[in-house]
Symmetry: C2
Subunit: 518 residues, 2 copies
């Protein structure tokens, strides 16, 4: 198989004399041309050029582009599914589900653009008669910030990758995208990148609205440092995300990096719920821990159980987990990293490993479960570290333990879940308050995996879950990472963007003199 | 006069054995106790404690607090005006105007809280019947991030200081505030801090909702590094703002720093407007350049004039400037820094100094004006540096010069203004596009000084104007710097915040299943 090329605007490009090898699940021989300095520069220059026209495109035009991307991805059919399965080791159902999510996301943003209110138009009309000074006419709306660099995620070859949520929201905002392809799925990336290229051509988008470059971490660094990059979106490890965040902060002109770096997503099980539903809860958690071989940023890595129920609940959880077939991890590197993290947990004092599914030959695994007492957990910050893979730590708490105190000891999280009977919840308001303080999403009687793509979703959270808790990378609000407000003062209607003109030609929701109107 | 103490919650505190001297306009002898490490820690601990109750206060409760602050500030009467005048050297009209702005701002945020829609409630109702998976009920709103550190600005002793826009918006968000008082007005700061303390007591706010600490830059660093600090707001120099931004980025858990660092606020004068209104334009610009002795972040430091009009326009500008009485700068340090910056401009090649008002004895000054050709300007990036004080550089452009090219060569700006006849503007769409790209506010036929406090205001802009162009420090949207979204999944109404409950008990605007409803 020929080495995979970079996608530079409407061309393919392979200037490097070296060829690198993908790091995929299967022992395939995918190779790619890493982007050279001149290719990086060309991608960014094309993106900056495209920005000058693309940023003025109407919602309808951008929506057409996003819908065309979804169509082109669906048009890839079985080839895309097979390629992604081969590279990621994920099963067919997961890949087709992820494709559905990816295309659904693109169409959701298309609808959002056509509806149009997302620009947050705010109009404060002037008053020349005001004393002591005339009141100027001020009108504000959101405009795109410029070329966005999107890092694809190894664990979501489609939905958080080439045409995933970051790309969809950046393109919706009016920002051209340069993708840093992941070594974990270069062939999948190429297929989707070509689909986007095709969609861009057939909907009349400017060349450079999308490019995709292959490479290792050095490519990522070069893209974050490039003077034409306006923002960065990243989904992956804490180490990777923090490094890019630090790099962006050291630029002569710092740029925002939204890095979603995963978390342990604690689940608190309250006593009463176990009296009637412990088996169902155990089954839900087992399914969540092993979903996608535990390689989700919302994977529940910590489960707090009342001490008196701990043994029974553990048995139920283990029974459920023992039904899970061996799963393929994304690649050998992630498999080894998982084993290393697991080994570290084992070496901690007073942590028992209750269950360790045997390995079936790398990178195939079965889940593992640890157990510790709350007092031990509170003393050992290492037990809060994410084990990327199908592992969860049960922490048993005594009646004397304050759940609020435990929650306050936790780091920032994407999610925090509570399983409870309705009648016992009001007694745990302090716990709920503490969980609200540390997470982006609070979940009742459900597991954190399965992030709904909708307007109300918040997929983010205090550091170290993300680098900026004020933003989300899932849901329509993800667009805000790529826009900034601009105010126009005393401009005549004809020179204002349509969203701000008198008479509201776009028919969008606007705040006019403090009231929401359409 | 006794040395000024720190305000720690409901107490005064003076633990330092050292006493530092203020850096004020008048040769007064204001001294203060710099905050010690233990006082810094106590202020932050009190703030973190207060946050646990204050963050749950209703809009009505917080509004009462903000209104009480305004009342207490007004109640200080002449004493505050005289103190601020003495410390800042600013004239009475400016100080009373600034007081009005400060109290107006507090009341605007109070109204905003009572109206309540600012929490951006978004509800996506669940659907248990959805295939293939049930749709969860997701509801999102904004919640406060935690204790905010506010740096007061030397050039705005009231409106961007102790109870200024940053404090008002952070308190409105539900974040306790710890103020880093400026050495340029410690006595003014103390008066206002005591007014806030009084307002907090009489409206039943928790101790620690507000504290004010005195010190130099080392205090600022300690506050930004403190583990309990959740966000930082700063208005001041590029050097100061960038240093704090860098420091916050190096924390184990980085926190957002919104630093508004000023800009040169370019004005483009198009040819036709000068045919009929050159004198009025010159007078407006002269007034803007000298407003507050040119010590505004929106001071116009660059004016582009058509070459054929440059000489006439310069004469009109100089005539207007010669009418300006000597003005007192904020303090000796700023005066000397102004002279230094001016000297640097003089030393640049092919820059003429057309007018230099004589000094009347430090820190009194008259304005200065430079002149350079566009070709010279484009070659010399130093000419874009802010001269903090009443100076502006006229840049004459030839018909051959592309205004778009000039605009593209400019750094990020808070504002960009155009003076034009209505009929000539449509020919300059490329210029307007370029200006939109680099600034936070576009102004037509008016000067950038005089930032209206309203919903639609954007006071921010691409770096180096601010550290994050996605936020504003003036207007109600300033609250967004201090909040983050949290989503609740599948929670029963009784356990949801009122803003998210069915039936909309607060009667606020919400987005429900994609539609705006009230």
């Amino acid at each position: 198989m020929a080495a995979i090329k970079n996608i530079l605007g409407f061309k393919a490009s392979a200037k490097s004399k070296n060829i690198l090898q993908g790091i995929t699940a299967a022992e395939n021989r995918t190779t790619f041309y890493p982007a050279t300095r001149s290719e990086i520069n060309e991608a960014m220059t094309l993106a900056a050029g495209a920005f000058q026209t693309y940023r003025h495109f109407t919602g309808q035009q951008k929506a057409m582009f996003l819908r065309a991307i979804a169509e082109e991805i669906e048009f890839l059919g079985e080839k895309l599914v097979q390629t992604a399965m081969l590279e990621s080791g994920l099963p067919e159902g997961r890949i087709t589900g992820e494709r559905g999510r990816t295309c659904g996301q693109l169409r959701l943003f298309a609808d959002y653009l056509v509806e149009g209110s997302w620009v947050e138009a705010v109009i404060d009309q002037g008053n020349p008669e005001r004393q002591p000074l005339p009141k100027p006419d001020i009108r504000r709306m959101l405009v795109p910030t410029g070329p966005a660099v999107v890092f694809t995620a190894s664990n979501f070859p489609l939905a958080f990758s080439t045409a995933g949520g970051d790309t969809a929201s950046a393109l919706a905002a009016g920002c051209p995208v340069v993708v840093k392809a992941h070594e974990a799925h270069p062939a999948t990336n190429e297929l989707v990148a070509l689909a986007i290229q095709k969609a861009a051509k057939r909907t009349g988008m400017p060349e450079g609205v999308f490019s995709s470059l292959n490479g290792d971490y050095k490519l990522g660094q070069a893209l974050v440092k490039h003077p034409l990059t306006a923002s960065v979106a990243f989904t992956g490890s804490h180490r990777g995300g923090r490094a890019l965040f630090d790099l962006a902060g050291k630029r002569p002109n710092p740029i925002p990096v939204f890095a979603e770096m995963g978390s342990v997503n604690p689940i608190f099980i309250l006593p009463n719920v176990l009296e009637t539903q412990s088996e169902q809860v155990a089954e839900q958690i087992a399914a969540s821990v092993t979903l996608g071989a535990g390689q989700f940023c919302t994977n529940p890595g910590l489960v707090f159980v009342p001490e008196e129920w701990a043994e029974d609940f553990a048995q139920q959880l283990l029974a459920a987990l023992s039904q899970v077939q061996p799963q393929c991890m994304l690649n050998q590197r992630i498999f080894e990293s998982y084993l290393g993290s697991l080994q570290q947990v084992k070496e901690q004092h007073q942590v028992a490993i209750l269950y360790e599914g045997e390995m079936q030959g790398a990178p195939f695994i079965r889940p593992s479960v640890g157990l510790a007492k709350a007092a031990v957990f509170l003393k050992n910050p290492h037990l809060q570290e994410e084990v990327f893979g199908p592992f969860t730590l049960l922490v048993s708490y005594a009646a004397a333990n304050s759940l609020e105190q435990i929650a306050n000891a936790l780091q920032g999280q994407l999610t925090a879940s509570v399983f409870a009977e309705k009648h016992e919840l009001p007694h745990y308001q302090n716990l709920l308050n503490a969980l609200q303080n540390l997470s982006g999403r609070l979940i009742l009687n459900a597991v954190p995996t399965g992030v709904e793509v909708c307007h109300a979703m918040q997929h983010g959270g205090p550091y170290p879950a993300t680098t900026d808790s004020r933003f989300t990378s899932v849901g329509t609000a993800a667009i805000r990472r790529f826009v900034r407000p601009v105010a126009w003062q005393n401009f005549p209607g004809a020179l204002l963007p349509e969203a701000l003109q008198d008479g509201n030609p776009l028919g969008i929701w606007r705040m006019v003199d403090g009231a929401f109107l359409k």
